[in-house]
């Protein structure tokens, strides 16, 4: 028996794939506790709510993970999220400070376009000017927030009650982007999360692009000497990150049904937290999409569970703090256990 166990654990490959086991364990544990207190937790409605609440965080976090994999950071995502929604709203509905309106399709294009522009500037300043991305994206966070307020004139937009009302097909098309419900009342938004997960999983784990990101993030100098296209890849990750933030902003606008000036830095913060909780290293070179998803789930689950339990908002902060620390700790401990088990079995295997 020990033989087969050792054979199993001895393979480093299996160990690698067990990396985020502890985090998954923490999530199951929290879920069990919440369920034992509130049977509504596992109800289909609540599960839908839970998944829905992960959408924006998730798709922005997947892209952010790639940025972090390269050893960079993108603080501007929260602002880009707001900017994209605001630009779409102002162009489409009018009422902001722009002197003209456009059709929805043009507005959507402009919303994503401006997101990509911010991503490009992030890339440009980091790559060409050589600024730390912390500074670049912190600056662009302010710029994007400012732009968003200037363009919208801090108006809150509600397509369904706008004056003049947009054509019905535009309204329903827009609603269909994220807000519409499919069978079993599943909102379209959740499809975006699923799609983004698959896409980014493939990108990270099954393409040269993902593989090279890991290499570049692990040792930039060696990557340079190996002639990997570091600069190009940096542009790409910043563009991807901004694009996903823009997409998230637009589909959340569609789901919520309105958009207005919001505080942007909190989303950036949450996104980075999710990525780091998911095991990525801020020094670069380490991070997986599954881990990031687990990080997102943990954060969303915590909010959901605490709301279900009816814990006061001040005490919630205590819980969030302790559980975040606890979950990552559990993850670390389980990793160590698995690793040392693996080493022991590898050794006995080698000795035999």
């Amino acid at each position: 028996m020990t033989k087969s166990l050792s054979a199993l654990l001895g393979t480093q490959k299996v160990l690698n794939s067990l990396r985020t086991l502890g985090l998954a364990l923490a999530i199951v544990l929290i879920a069990l506790i919440v369920q034992s207190q509130r049977s509504a937790f596992l109800s289909p409605e609540n599960m839908l709510t839970l998944v829905r609440s992960m959408v924006a965080l998730g798709i922005v976090a997947f892209a952010q993970m790639l940025v972090i994999l390269l050893g960079e950071i993108d603080l501007s995502v929260g602002a880009v999220y707001g900017l994209a929604g605001t630009v779409v709203a102002t162009l489409w509905l009018g009422g902001g400070s722009l002197p003209f309106t456009t059709s929805l399709v043009v507005a959507l294009g402009a919303g994503l376009g401006i997101a990509l522009l911010v991503g490009f500037v992030n890339g440009f300043l980091t790559v060409r000017a050589g600024l730390p991305s912390f500074i670049t994206t912190l600056g662009m966070l302010n710029v994007a927030d400012g732009l968003s307020l200037l363009i919208s004139n801090a108006t809150t937009f509600t397509p369904a009650y706008n004056d003049p009302l947009p054509p019905a097909w535009e309204l329903s098309f827009f609603h269909g982007l994220g807000g519409a419900l499919m069978a079993y009342d599943i909102p379209v938004e959740t499809l975006w999360l699923l799609g983004a997960f698959i896409l980014f999983w493939i990108l990270r784990h099954r393409t040269i692009f993902g593989f090279r990101l890991v290499a570049m993030g692990g040792n930039a100098e060696a990557a340079r000497v190996a002639r990997l296209p570091l600069r190009k890849y940096k542009y790409v990750v910043f563009l991807l990150s901004a694009l996903m933030a823009g997409v998230a902003g637009i589909i959340d606008f569609s789901y919520v049904g309105s958009v207005g000036p919001t505080q942007s830095s909190s989303l950036s913060f949450q996104v980075i937290a999710a990525v780091v909780i998911g095991g990525a290293s801020l020094n670069g070179g380490r991070g997986t999409i599954v881990g990031t998803l687990l990080g997102v789930i943990l954060l969303a689950l915590l909010n959901n569970g605490l709301a279900l339990l009816g814990v006061g908002s001040f005490v919630q902060l205590l819980f969030i703090g302790f559980v975040t620390i606890g979950a990552v700790w559990l993850d670390l401990v389980s990793q160590k256990l698995i690793r040392s088990a693996g080493q022991r079995s590898a050794r006995t295997g080698a000795a035999a």
């Binding site: 709301a307 279900l308 908002s313």
Partner: protein, 345 residues
């Protein structure tokens, strides 16, 4: 204690259509079980507002329990966070934890979708402080921001006239100059002030309020208003849309501009009252955050017990105007202190 639910509560014709109270709530009331009244505000940790609304919720609950057996809870993110607040609302709805909702959305009309979902699920919703007039809510409890601003403007102008103060230019600032409520107050203030001094010169308009720190803390106000007043000696009156006015009073004192520069604004605290006593602050409006939370909680109970709901959905609360001497429809500093004590204990 058995209790029957009146038909007027079970189904009610609202301007936006028919409302059907959820059968599970009816059953609960009939069984004499406690109904859950939830007050969900945009920031439980916002200075002054959070603490006073907590107290208002409690007071409202005491009153509510005279109508039926109720349990009341104040929820919401610590600081404004649209996504988080929305997810919490959805979660509470899905787990059947709400029997009546008093809601402060972060922006006007922002939570139209979720309010309508609550209505569809048979849960009455009232809004407070910030409204969602396009949604299926029963009523809205708050100041009429434009009106409150106007009253402030008029009161301030009267005092200026009375004391013969020379005002060159007036600036307006806010912790959240982008927010509709702040812009409404500034708009109102301009109108009210100009009704007394038609030629008054304003440094900025309602859309371009001077930012004084988005966390509404006194520190931020000190760091932004001090240089502003230093650089603009011709600005001798500063209108501030929220509790930052406490900081403006400090700035005037620190810069030794007492008697030259004055301020008026919103909200109430010990320091603000003292600045009024000092004469640096002319007028403040106590929004009665406690009342804003208390009223919808009471109304929740009233509706569930009697099926009554106000005919006019806009239930504007009376702005509590505080000046040094007090007067008709105005509280004096002393009376203000009494009210403050009552609102926070």
């Amino acid at each position: 204690a058995e209790k029957t639910v009146p038909e007027a509560a079970k189904t009610h014709q609202m301007p936006w259509g028919e409302f059907k109270l959820a059968p599970r709530i009816v059953k609960k009331i009939e069984a004499g079980e406690k109904v859950n009244i939830i007050v969900d505000i945009e920031g439980t940790g916002i200075p002054i507002q959070g603490a006073e609304m907590r107290i208002g919720t409690k007071k409202g609950c005491d009153a509510a329990n005279k109508e039926l057996s109720a349990e009341c809870r104040l929820v919401g993110p610590v600081n404004p966070d649209t996504t988080k607040q929305l997810a919490e609302l959805e979660t509470l709805l899905n787990s059947g934890q709400v029997d009546c909702l008093a809601l402060q959305p972060p922006l006007p009309n922002q939570f139209t979708g979720i309010i309508n979902k609550y209505a569809a699920a048979g849960i009455p919703v009232f809004t407070l402080n910030i409204d969602a007039p396009k949604a299926k809510r029963f009523a809205f409890y708050a100041l009429n921001e434009v009106q409150a601003g106007t009253i402030n403007g008029e009161a301030t102008a009267k005092l200026i006239k009375e004391k013969g103060i020379k005002v060159d230019q007036i600036a307006m600032g806010s912790g959240a100059p982008d927010q509709p409520w702040a812009q409404s107050r500034m708009e109102g203030f301009m109108a009210g002030y100009k009704s007394v001094f038609p030629d008054a010169k304003f440094f900025n308009d309602a859309k371009s309020g001077i930012p004084t720190g988005k966390n509404f803390t006194t520190q931020e106000v000190l760091n932004s208003v001090t240089p502003f007043l230093t650089a603009h000696p011709d600005v001798t009156l500063f209108f501030h849309t929220d509790q930052g006015v406490e900081g403006v009073g400090n700035v005037i004192r620190n810069l030794k501009l007492n008697g030259k520069v004055f301020t008026s604004g919103f909200n109430v605290s010990g320091a603000i009252l003292d600045a009024i006593a000092d004469g640096t602050t002319l007028v403040t409006i106590d929004q009665g955050f406690d009342n804003q939370a208390q009223a919808p909680v009471e109304q929740c109970a009233k509706y569930l017990a009697t099926g009554e709901t106000p005919a006019d959905p806009l239930q504007y609360l009376r702005p509590i105007v505080i000046t040094k001497a007090g007067g008709q429809d105005e509280l004096s500093v002393e009376a203000g202190r009494e009210r403050l004590k009552a609102a926070s204990h």
